[in-house]
């Protein structure tokens, strides 16, 4: 599968995620891609630098033919705004188990919607892991996802990086969705 097809699946997957979140929550939720680009592993952290540290990230490992690693990352302030928009309740100072499970579910729905689109277009079967919410410096989050797929120092194929815009309850929250396909998943990586 070519990298451009992955890009198309991210776009369609995010829109599908908005519809799925709306159905689940019983309120309109929009999820839109603002910009999608390919970024080399070494450049990912710089490309995501607009997120204020530390970040709240949902990490999901994906097994299967087009597997890889997925991250949905928010600045701490954005994650609280999104939780409040989706639940109607302002989170406490630190995110508790409930607030973290809201973020995990948003990550789960977003990533699995993308995987659904990939599956529909390619017939591939993928299996996402249990989503894990990590609050850490961006470098730690990115390093962990990369290390799961590549040997140290190996740049690997490009990450797909998408700025995603969530809108709910009159709020607009930006996040970064990053997907690192396992090298064997991608045919020709021109980035």
């Amino acid at each position: 599968m070519g990298i451009d097809e992955f890009v198309g699946a991210v776009d369609a997957g995010l829109r599908q995620a908005g519809r799925a979140l709306s159905a689940m929550l019983g309120q309109p939720v929009e999820c839109r891609p603002e910009a999608i680009r390919r970024v080399r592993g070494a450049e990912l952290q710089k490309a995501m630098a607009e997120l204020k540290e530390p970040v709240e990230a949902v990490y999901i490992a994906v097994q299967g033919g087009l597997g890889g690693a997925a991250l949905l990352a928010f600045s701490a302030e954005s994650s609280r705004e999104l939780v409040e928009a989706l639940t109607g309740e302002a989170p406490p100072g630190e995110l508790g188990e409930m607030e973290r499970s809201v973020l995990a579910e948003v990550g789960n729905v977003t990533v699995t919607s993308f995987l659904n689109v990939l599956g529909e277009r390619t017939g591939s079967v993928t299996a996402p892991s249990v989503p894990e919410v990590v609050e850490a410096p961006l470098a730690t989050v990115v390093g962990r996802a990369t290390a799961a797929l590549h040997a140290p120092g190996e740049d690997g194929v490009s990450w797909l990086l998408c700025q995603a815009r969530f809108e709910a309850a009159g709020r607009r929250v930006l996040a970064q969705l990053a997907y690192l396909p396992r090298p064997a998943s991608v045919a020709g990586d021109p980035a």
Binding site: A20, L21, A23, M24, L25, G26, E97, M98, S101, V102, A104, E105, N108, V109, T112, L115, N116, G119, V125, T126, A127, P128, S129, V130
Partner: protein, 120 residues
């Protein structure tokens, strides 16, 4: 009214699902993984289990087998975040009654509970 065991590692999903079912008159039990689900099932013998597939400690497919080993008449509806055809087909083959694709549409959840959760 049915007694429904909701099994999901996401507290948020359990909360949303339990709220929906209680609003429609059902009694709800909760478990956050397959191992806990098995314990609650053995103790409470609910009318229906809504069982997530992807969970830590013990996944849904393993939990399904264990629950059916404990009670061959158990009624279990699998919940999957993806349309994982192979896994869903295996679950149905093992003995699940139905499956729900997450995120849940409330009407679909209620329909499945109405269909499979009649009191025993």
């Amino acid at each position: 009214m049915s007694r429904v065991l909701v099994v999901d590692d996401s507290q948020f999903v359990r909360l949303r699902t339990a709220k929906l079912l209680r609003e429609h008159g059902h009694e709800v039990l909760e478990a956050s993984n397959g191992r806990e689900a098995l314990e609650v099932y053995r103790r409470e013998r609910p009318d229906l289990v809504l069982l997530d597939i992807t969970m830590p400690e013990m996944d849904g497919l393993t939990a399904l087998r264990e629950i059916l080993a404990a009670d061959a008449g158990a009624r279990v509806v699998m919940c999957t975040a993806l349309a994982q055809k192979a896994t869903v087909l295996e679950a149905i083959k093992v003995g699940a009654k139905d499956f729900l694709v997450k995120p849940f549409e409330p009407e679909r959840v209620l329909q499945s509970v109405e269909r499979w959760g009649s009191p025993r």
